[in-house]
């Protein structure tokens, strides 16, 4: 099969691409979950910027929550902070609520946190002015509550200002708090880790040998259309996830320890940019072999691709977990389990059918 001329622009930088030696060195580094390099912060200390980033995340959530309350329940908020529940005040609260929501979303998802923090500072200053005005000029203001609210806003202003100043000169963050907390990746490693494990009641040597013969893989990796083994190390993969799409890439084995480990990575500019390894460990109590399949997937270029890639890590994990289940069925029973319904693609009732379906494989 001709490799597709891939026109996808790769603007994302990643460690190592090109010569095999570089790939072999880069693979273990990319697989480790820690940071893959040290970039000294140009202006502020790393401790301060770490703290400011943490605060920024908290402020994002707080801003989002409070803003939502102001938009959805301005009367409750007005009474809480002691200002008169007038239609004018409610309108002001809603407007400020909307701004807070926008600032909060920006803080949680955006790279350039600083601008959203400064936006919060601006909002805080106006908040102070309006609250102060309400206390000074509106007789119906509950001064006791409003004073507490004023003090709280003053405190927030100070906090927002400190975080803004600390993060203003920072190089771009590698993604928002939400994406980071989902991905669990480090500051410098944008890849999405994906992991699945299965225990198979067969010796490690048998499981390794089955996997190492790549002509077996398409039997249990149902997304794989074909694997063209070029030589001892290189192979060309054709994969379809939905049945209508098709991805192709070249992979090269970077480590091969018989009965223990196979590691690989996609070659430069691959449509599915990733490194991976499968480990075969002896399971406790004579249960056979634990198969640990781990991949680090580099999501498509751009901020949106990153966020989507991180949030969607569940999907690849489900796919490879199902693949490993099928491998277990294949090695333990000789066939992939199918029922009267699941032997067909798509929704079918649980009853016999007359369709011509391929027979289940028996080894």
């Amino acid at each position: 099969m001709e490799p597709r001329n891939d026109a996808t622009l790769r603007t994302q930088t990643k460690p190592g691409s090109g010569a095999f030696d570089q790939l072999a060195q880069a693979a273990p580094a990319a697989l480790s979950s820690g940071e893959s390099g040290d970039q000294p912060s140009p202006v502020r200390s790393r401790v301060a910027s770490r703290a400011a980033n943490s605060w920024a995340r908290g402020l994002g959530l707080f801003s989002l929550g409070l803003g939502a309350a102001e938009v959805l329940a301005p009367t409750v908020v007005a009474r809480f902070i002691g200002v008169r529940d007038s239609s004018r005040n409610r309108t002001i609260l809603r407007a400020f609520g909307a701004h807070k929501v926008a600032a909060g979303v920006g803080l949680l998802l955006a790279r350039r946190r600083a601008r959203y923090l400064w936006s919060r500072v601006a909002g805080d200053v106006i908040d102070l002015a309006i609250l102060g005005g309400a206390v000074a000029f509106d007789k119906r203001t509950r001064t006791d509550r409003a004073s507490i609210a004023l003090a709280a806003v003053a405190g927030m202003t100070a906090l927002d200002t400190w975080a803004s100043l600390t993060l203003t000169d920072e190089p771009d963050d590698d993604g928002g708090a939400l994406a980071r907390s989902v991905a669990g990746g480090s500051d410098q490693d944008p890849s999405v880790p994906v992991l699945a494990v299965v225990t198979i009641s067969r010796p490690a040597s048998e499981v390794y040998a089955f996997w190492r013969d790549f002509s077996n893989l398409a039997h249990f990796m149902t997304q794989v259309r074909s694997i063209d083994v070029r030589d001892r190390l290189e192979s060309h993969w054709t994969v379809s996830v939905t049945g209508r799409d098709e991805l192709q890439w070249d992979a090269v084995i970077t480590a091969d320890r018989p009965d223990q480990l196979i590691a690989w990575r996609s070659v430069a500019d691959a449509a599915f940019d990733h490194v991976g390894e499968v480990r075969f460990l002896t399971a406790p109590g004579g249960r056979g072999t634990e198969v640990h399949l781990k991949m680090n997937v580099f999501p498509p270029a751009g901020r949106l691709g990153e966020a989507v890639g991180k949030l969607a890590r569940r999907v690849p994990e489900q796919i490879i977990a199902a693949d490993l289940k099928r491998l277990k069925q294949l090695l333990e029973t000789g066939e992939i389990m199918k029922s009267d319904a699941s032997i067909h693609r798509g929704r079918r009732p649980a009853r016999p059918s007359t369709d011509d379906e391929p027979p289940l494989r028996t080894t």
């Binding site: 009641s201 199902a322 333990e332 029973t333 066939e335 319904a341 699941s342 079918r348 649980a350």
Partner: protein
Amino acid sequence: MKANCWEGKQKVRVETVPDPRILSDGDAIVKVTSTAICGSDLHLYNGLIPSMQKGDVLGHEFMGEVVETGRAVKELKVGDRVVVPFPIACGQCTMCHEKLFSLCENSNPNAWMAEALWGHSPSGLFGYSHILGGFAGGQAEYVRVPFADVGPIKVPNGLRDEQVLFLSDIFPTGYMGAEMCDIKPGKVIAVWGAGPVGQFAIASARLLGAERVIAIDRF
């Protein structure tokens, strides 16, 4: 063939559906001579179990005669009379080796569904929703039985269907309850609920040597 099919909440209907075929070398086709309704079938009937589809064949307590076997089946031959247990078990996984067949790790092709709902998947079941595999059930004239060497129990000559049918599900269910009591000679056993499962628990308690069995029910 005719089969009893689920058509919605509190709607079942006998319909004409295709006969089952051998799909795997380990399969057998059983011609059903007797089949029972389980209390659990009521959950399906009342629409309480998710993932049912219109047209699903119901039933998981059945017995009959083997009419066809796959090439790899060794324990059964055509003409054998068998009772088929309701869990489907591969016989090769760790759970099956420990004789915990209802926990078979391989027999539910939709294990991911069960895991999403319950954290772990049990074995596949006959006729009990797609979460448990989407297998056609035994309230039908014929059933495809996967892993035919593992589950089906051969019936000796001279026993009527009514004497052995309940080995498929409800007798072992009641028996398991009695077994949990660790009955020793002289023990008095009380059974709450004298419905079908309760009655098998009572019978099992007596079989296991209880001195006295007290049945309790509000009816």
